[in-house]
């Protein structure tokens, strides 16, 4: 068909619908014109006007019929039929408002939630890496062979070897977090400010493929080993905030944490790497010792050569890793390299929770479909006479099926329209999710056109899915039978019942899967919330005070694979001054400090130790057991935390550097290393460093959970911040110059902030306090994810249970109604109500147990998927599985109660007379 004809045809079709009245009027005019011509002709033949008109009318025949025949030529039959079907569908739905309401609501929830989650998944898959050709960017990370689930950054020897030996990459760059730096308070009134930045290899910018907005990035010479050049590049936000967007900022010297740096460049506004909050970059400051070190702190980013796949790069890196392990076993043995796309690192984490949610909402939609299909089937039985009549009168099967499908699609479209609101609400859930370290937050999920299109498509498909079964059931109608017989015993009820029963079993099974999933999540959430923290998080203000580590940490070498640092000059007196000042505050009831946040710290320092008069085990593995988490604390720490002291004493003001050195251990450490013994008075040696002295254990305290995601407590050693040697072996040397202070109050902890801020500023105006939050925020921040997920799944599980209950109620009620006559006969023959109950209940029991078995099997397979979201509970927790199954069985039995009662109340005479 030519385009112009196509256009013409469609113009007619559209007009036929939109301009019907005018077309009809014109049709009348046209016929009238013909009539007048006829009359004229008759008059010309010599007839009188009246006779001519009569003759003409006779000649034209039935005018309305002629007009109808003309109208029938308009090609809108299908549209007309559709309109009729829709009208009819609306009418039938309005006759069953209860059914329509349940169906539309469950569809709205199912379709809306599915669209939202699928939409979020879609944006995750399509999310753009904001660098040119971003899909060629990969992160090269390492992991120990004994635990591939771990993911570490790279050491400097790794980086150097990879860069030298690999052929898969166009370029490669490394970065490492610079310890936060402080702008001091300026004379013009700008306050002290702490900013986060990264040390980067000059090649990193080229690898990312970005140019600075102003000035330049670094040259290779500026990253000279041991002597990085004192230059820096600013982020756009820092440039705007601190320098008012002054284009003359290039070449300016700024004083940052006591050192002078020259600004050489400013990056464009949308450049954030490696973190959103990175505000400056300095040349990567590698020292001579790190060239031999095995500490894996450097994030290596590389750009694949065009045409090289991630798998090819992985294969090459596997070879390089194996060679390194052979050449330098002490540094590289047992470590492997992982090539991971930047996209995967940034956005990959979303897949698991989104897939979990999608699984849940897909199940809800499935249940809703099964439910509505069941209800439609049952209703189809009631409508059978109507359908048979229509078919007998000549309606084609296709036409009847189309009409039934129109009804179900109509239902699901209404559901989908309401689902838009559900989707809009549900989209907030993914926005709330917390990304893990290095992951990017979801910010880009909105109700947009593709999402609405998806919603519409989902609605139509859903309607077709649940409408098809009942519609196909029409084909199985025996046309002659039902008209002759009464409707009740007609058709093939058993086949229909089987389909209905299968649908109900499916609903029960799906509901059980959801219930068990949410049961596990809720269970672990309750455990987590009710977990004995052994401290009281309410009324505690926390903040961090930190002296830049450049001031006191001097890397002097590597000892047994870890950096060895001299701590000089000791930052302790400065910390002590701050602590004394905070103690002098009026507001808090008690004040204490600890080197790293006591719970949920991103970094935890662990230290090897030995016990006096106990030989160290020979094997390296057993020796590894002699490690504990290590914290420096001030006196009053346990009082302030309200942690129970199980034995011995707390630190006090007499535990000074000059006194005898002491330690406090936690319960787990006492249990692990002194089972059945009293550890008080025993002596510990921390990893041999110059100036370290044996420490006497003076107290045992209850376990404070170090990580919210770990149920098993770890051994912990606490020592006084005053009793420290001037040397340290390990990666976290900066813990000596920082304190997380805890201020306890009976009032609102945040009200202490101004006083605390000025107390610190009086001692040290150059270092502002940071990370100000209440301990409840600290502990609870990550709980929110679990709470949201548990709540969402809980709502879905509730909905699913309700739907399954309605489903089983429907099928039981229908089956009782269908068997009324049979029951009547049985009762007339003397069957007791027990027998009748067994008859009805037996079927219900089969359905329920089939559903529960299916559901349990499904749960066993699926619950592993949420294992990472669980805390202190196995994904196959027998208690949850049993409890939830019993709950569902109880609900299902309850749903059978009414139909069963109706069955035993059947009046035999009434039942027999009814046919």
């Amino acid at each position: 068909m030519t385009p112009s004809r196509l256009f013409r045809v469609w113009r007619h079709r559209v007009r036929s619908v939109s301009d019907r009245d005018r077309l009809d009027a014109q049709l009348g005019q046209e016929i009238l014109f013909h009539f007048e011509q006829l009359v004229h002709e008759k008059i010309a033949e010599g007839l009188a006007l009246k006779d001519a008109q009569r003759e003409a009318r006779l000649a034209l025949g039935n005018i309305p019929l002629l007009e109808d025949q003309c109208r029938d030529q308009r090609r809108i039959g299908w549209l007309h039929d559709l309109w009729q079907d829709v009208k009819y569908g609306v009418r039938t739905l309005r006759q069953n408002p209860g059914f329509a309401l349940i169906a539309v609501c469950s569809l709205a929830l199912g379709i809306g939630a599915n669209s939202a989650i699928l939409g979020a998944l879609r944006t995750t898959l399509l999310a753009k890496i904001p660098f040119p050709d971003g899909d060629r960017l990969v992160l090269l990370r390492t992991y120990p062979e004994w635990n591939p689930a771990l993911s570490n950054a790279a050491s400097i020897p790794d980086y150097v070897a990879w860069k030298l030996q690999s052929r898969s990459f166009e370029s490669m760059g490394a970065s490492i977090a610079d310890h936060s730096r402080d702008f001091g308070a300026e004379e013009d009134g700008r306050p002290a400010e702490r900013i986060e930045g990264h040390g980067v290899a000059p090649s990193l910018f080229a690898t990312l493929g970005v140019q600075p907005l102003l000035g330049r990035t670094f040259t290779e010479e500026e990253a000279e080993i041991d002597h990085p050049a004192p230059v820096m590049v600013l982020s756009h936000s820092l440039w705007q905030r601190r320098f008012g967007g002054d284009p003359g900022v290039l070449g300016k010297q700024v004083r940052l944490s006591g050192s002078n740096l020259t600004i050489v460049g400013v990056m464009p506004p949308d450049f954030h790497y490696p973190l959103e909050e990175t505000e400056y970059w300095i040349p990567l400051g590698i020292n001579r010792f790190q060239l031999q070190g095995s500490a894996r702190y450097f994030e290596v980013l590389a750009r694949l050569k065009p045409g090289v796949s991630v798998e090819q790069a992985q294969a090459e890196m596997d070879g390089i890793g194996a060679q390194l392990a052979r050449d330098f076993p002490d540094r590289h043995k047992g470590w492997r390299i992982r090539v991971q796309t930047l996209r995967d690192v940034w956005y990959g984490w979303r897949k698991t929770p989104l897939a979990t949610l999608e699984g849940a909402v897909a199940l809800v939609l499935l249940i809703a479909c099964a439910n509505i299909a069941g209800l439609l089937l049952a209703r189809g039985t009631a409508r059978r006479p109507e359908i048979v009549m229509r078919m007998a009168l000549g309606a084609g099967r296709g036409r009847v099926v189309r009409q039934m499908l129109t009804e179900s699609v109509l239902l699901s479209l209404i559901g989908g329209a309401l689902g838009t609101f559900v989707a809009w609400g549900a989209l907030r859930a993914p926005l709330q999710m917390h990304p893990p370290l290095a992951g990017q937050r979801i910010t880009d999920v909105v109700v947009d056109l593709p999402l609405l299109a998806l919603l519409g498509l989902l609605s139509v498909v859903t309607g077709l899915i649940f409408g098809l079964g009942p519609a196909i059931a029409c084909f199985q109608l025996d046309l002659a039978g039902p008209l002759k017989e009464s409707t009740r015993s007609a058709g093939s009820p058993y086949r229909r019942n089987r389909l209905q029963s299968a649908l109900v079993a499916l609903q029960i099974a799906s509901a059980l899967v959801l219930l068990i999933g949410s049961g596990l999540l809720i269970n672990s959430f309750v455990r987590l919330a009710g977990f004995d923290l052994n401290f009281d998080p309410t009324g505690l203000l926390t903040f961090e005070y930190r002296i830049p580590q450049q001031r006191y940490v001097h890397n002097v070498g590597v000892f047994q694979g870890a950096p060895y640092s001299a701590i000089d000059p000791s930052p302790t007196p400065a910390i002590q001054r701050v602590y004394e000042h905070l103690r002098a505050m009026r507001g808090p009831e008690s004040v204490a400090g600890i080197s790293l946040p006591p719970v949920n710290s991103l970094v935890l320092n662990s230290l090897g130790f030995s016990i006096e008069e106990r030989p160290m085990p020979q094997s390296a593995e057993d020796r590894n057991a002699y490690r504990a988490v290590y914290f420096l604390i001030t006196p009053n720490f346990f009082t302030t935390m309200k942690t129970r002291l199980l034995r011995g004493r707390d630190l006090n003001d007499f535990d000074t550097a000059a006194g005898s050195w002491v330690a406090i251990i936690n319960e787990t450490m006492a249990r692990l290393f002194w089972p059945g013994e009293d550890p008080i008075g025993k002596r510990l040696m921390l990893e041999v460093v110059a100036g370290e002295r044996p420490r006497e254990i003076v107290g045992v305290v209850a376990d404070i959970p170090t990580r919210r995601d770990r149920a098993e407590p770890q051994p912990v050693i606490y020592t006084s911040y005053l009793q420290q040697s001037p040397a340290y072996r390990g990666p976290i040397a900066n813990m000596f110059g920082q304190m997380t202070f805890l201020l306890r109050t009976s009032g609102d902890p945040m009200s202490l902030v101004p006083e605390a801020r000025s107390a610190v500023a009086e001692v040290d105006p150059d270092h502002a306090i940071t990370r100000i939050q209440t301990m409840e925020q600290y502990w609870g921040g990550g709980m929110r994810d679990k709470r949201i997920l548990a709540a969402v799944l809980g709502v879905f599980a509730f909905e699913a249970t309700l739907l399954a209950a309605i489903g089983i109620y429907g099928v039981m009620a229908y089956s009782v109604a269908q068997r009324t006559r049979e029951i009547g006969i049985r009762m007339a023959l003397g069957a007791s109500s027990h027998k009748i109950l067994a008859l009805i209940g037996g079927r219900a029991a089969i359905l329920i147990s089939l559903g529960v078995l299916l559901g349990l099997a499904g749960s066993l397979m699926l619950s592993r998927l949420i294992a990472s979201q669980l805390w202190g509970i196995q994904p196959t927790d027998p208690a949850t599985f049993t409890g939830v199954s019993l709950l569902l069985i109880a609900v299902a039995l309850l749903a059978c109660f009414v139909p069963a009662r109706r069955a035993i109340r059947v009046d035999p005479t009434e039942a027999l007379r009814s046919e």
């Binding site: 045809v9 005019q29 007048e36 025949q69 003309c70």
Partner: protein, 109 residues
């Protein structure tokens, strides 16, 4: 005058298209023209003429326009569209094939 014979289904379309190939006409004129040209042998009844016109219009073969007649009365005039002209050629061809085939059968049988 013998009663004009009824037309085969399908030939109506052909006749209408052919009649319209010279000029735009209204329904009355089309029926008159067919009768006239066939020497009063063929007559298209209103009962098939108007549905046929509407069908041809919906199929895009002809277009319609309201115009005044010579006597100043407003009427609906139909005219061939470019596609209608091609359609007419096709139908004429197939009609010729059909009639010659029928002619052959009549001659040889």
């Amino acid at each position: 005058m013998p009663k004009p014979s009824d037309l085969l289904q399908g030939t109506v379309d052909l006749l209408i298209l052919r009649t319209l190939s010279r000029e735009a006409l209204h329904g009355w004129a089309i029926s008159k023209r067919i009768q006239q040209l066939s020497g009063d042998v063929l007559s298209v009844q209103q009962g098939s003429l108007y549905p046929a016109l509407h069908r041809l219009e919906q199929s895009g073969w002809i277009d319609s326009e309201w115009k005044d007649t010579e006597l100043g009365r407003s009427a609906k005039f139909y005219a061939l569209t470019p596609e209608g002209k091609q359609q007419l050629e096709k139908e004429v061809d197939s009609w010729k094939r059909l009639s010659s085939a029928v002619g052959l059968v009549l001659k040889k049988a």
